[in-house]
Chain length 330, copies 2
Amino acid sequence: MKKIMNDPNQVVQDMLKGFVAAFPNDVKQLPNTTVIARKNAPVSNKVGLVSGGGSGHEPAHAGYVGKGMLDAAVAGEVFTSPTPDQVYEAIKAVDGGAGVFLVIKNYTGDVMNFEMAAELAAAEGIDVEQVIVNDDVAVEDSSFTTGRRGIAGTVFVHKIAGAKAEQGGSLQDVKAVAEKVVANVRSMGMALTPCTVPAAGKPSFEIDDNEMEIGMGIHGEPGIERKEIASANEIAEELTQKVLEDIDYSGSEVAVMVNGLGSTPEMELFIVNARVHEILAEKGIKVYKTFVGEYMTSLEMAGCSVTLLKLDDELKELLEAEAVTPAFSS
Amino acid sequence: MKKIMNDPNQVVQDMLKGFVAAFPNDVKQLPNTTVIARKNAPVSNKVGLVSGGGSGHEPAHAGYVGKGMLDAAVAGEVFTSPTPDQVYEAIKAVDGGAGVFLVIKNYTGDVMNFEMAAELAAAEGIDVEQVIVNDDVAVEDSSFTTGRRGIAGTVFVHKIAGAKAEQGGSLQDVKAVAEKVVANVRSMGMALTPCTVPAAGKPSFEIDDNEMEIGMGIHGEPGIERKEIASANEIAEELTQKVLEDIDYSGSEVAVMVNGLGSTPEMELFIVNARVHEILAEKGIKVYKTFVGEYMTSLEMAGCSVTLLKLDDELKELLEAEAVTPAFSS
C-alpha cells in the first residue's frame, strides 16, 4: 500500500482538517462531527440540502458544499456509511425553517442511517424529505445494495436540486426535481485496478494485468463481466450502450459525464469522451453539456464511468444556474 | 500497462478530439495542429497568451484555455516538447494586434522550440515576449533541463498573466507581472510510483514498494533522495521547508497549491494540506487562498507537490479576477 497519510485510522479526520484549512471562508466543520457545512448555514427560509456517505469518493461529497449545491456533507469512514447521529447533526445545522432534503446514494447502510436520522429530526419538528439515487445500470442488488447502486449521477442530483433550493423552491419542489433527475439519469462504470482502503492495507480484490471489469461499483463491488482490456472505443461503446438501453433517450438532449474513478489520467477520460460523443451523434442524441473529470471516485481505482442525464428545459436551466463550491463551478 | 486508449501512438490526437467535443462552444482545435485555442481567438487588441508543452500533464495546458487565462495551448506528444511550427500556428492564431506572450516551462526542448517559434512570428511582424517558469526548487539541471524545472507553479503564471492580459494590459505589462510571479513562486514535489508513457508501454523507472522519491520531476526525472515512505506530515514538512528556504516568505501572504500528480486520491492531498497550513501558521505566514487538486499531473504517477506563491496586492487582485476555463474557475 503506497499512500500519503499519517495514521490509517485517522484519514477521514485528517482530510476534513485539510479541507476546512483550504476553504475557511466557505465551509465549517461542525464541532465533534465529520460534517462539513456551508460557513453561513443555516440559510434562512431556504431548503437545506444534505448528502454524504462513505469517504473515499472525493471530491464527493464535501467538495459540493456551497452556493447552489449542498448545505452539508456527512463523511463516513472510508467506504462506510456515516452513522445516524452524524447525519442528524447535519440536518439540524442546515435547517433554516424551510425543511431539509437528503440526497442518498442507494447503499443499504446509507439508506438505513439517513432514514433513521430523518426520523430523529422529524421528532424534533424538522420537515425532512429525501431522494434515493440509483443510477448505476450495471447490476440489480450487490454486496452493499438492494436494487441499483447510486454512483456518479448523484452529482447531477446535487447540482439540480441544489439550484432549485437556492432559487427558493419549497421542500416539495426540491423533492420533485430531484426525483425527475433520478428518473432521467443513468450511469455505468468499469475498472482496471482495485483500490486499497487505508485501514485494510491491502487491495479489496485482485484483477489480472490484462483484465478489466465491466460494471464494477465504486467500492469495488463486482460488476457484470471480467474480461481482457478492450480499446477505449470499445469501452465507451459498451458503457454507453448499456446506459442507452435503459431508458428512451431518442431525440432528447443530454448532459454527459465521463467520470474518472481516481487514478485514470484525464487524457484517457477525454479519449473515452470522444467516442461517447460520436455514439450519441450517430443516434441523434444532442449533447447539451459535458463534464469530464473526477466527480465520484473510488480512492485510487483506475477506471471510469459514463453518465447520461436526459434533459428538459427545467433541468437545463437548473444545470446552468450558478454554483460555487470547491469542486464544481457554473 | 493498464490504460484506457486506442492506438498508443494516437493518444494526443484522440484526447484533443474528446476535449473539443466536451467544450465545443468554448474552444477550437486549429486545423491540422495540436493547438487548442479559445473559440473567439484572436481577441482584438488583447495580448494573446500561449503556453503548452508535452502532453501527459492534464489538465495542463488545454484545460486552462479560456477567459482570464490562456488563449491557446500547444500539445506535444506525451512528455515531448511541441515542435516550433505548432507553437508558431498558435501564436498566429491568437495575435489580436497587441502582441503574444509565451509561458514556457523550463525544459530544454520547450525553451528551444518556443523561442524558435517566436523568431518565426517576429519575422512576420508579430510582437512576441515570453517568460520561463522554473519554480521547482528540488534540483538544478536534470535530464531535460538546464537550471530549475517548471512545474505546478506555472498554473499561477497562467492565471495571473492571463488576468492582466484580460484587463487590457500591454505586452510589457503582462511580461512584468509574469516575471513577478516567477520571482515569487516556488514548488517541490515527491512521488510514490512511476508512470508509463503509452507508446513506451513500460514504467519510466522502478521504485520499491516501501520507497518514495523526494524532488522527482513531472516526467519522472530523478529528484534529491530516494528513501522509505514517510508520513504525510513528514512529507508536507520536507516539501514545505525546502520551498520556504528558497526565498524569504516571512511576514508575507501566500497562495498555496497542493497538487496531485495523477493517481493520488484527493483525500491524501487534503491530509498534506492540513500540515502545510500548520507549518505556515507556525511561521507567521498568512494563507490568502488555497488550491488542492490535480493542476499539473504526470499521467498516473502517485505523488504530490507543494507550491507557495508570495503575494502582493497586485497579485492578489489578479489571482481573484474572473477566469472561466474547463479546469479553473474564479
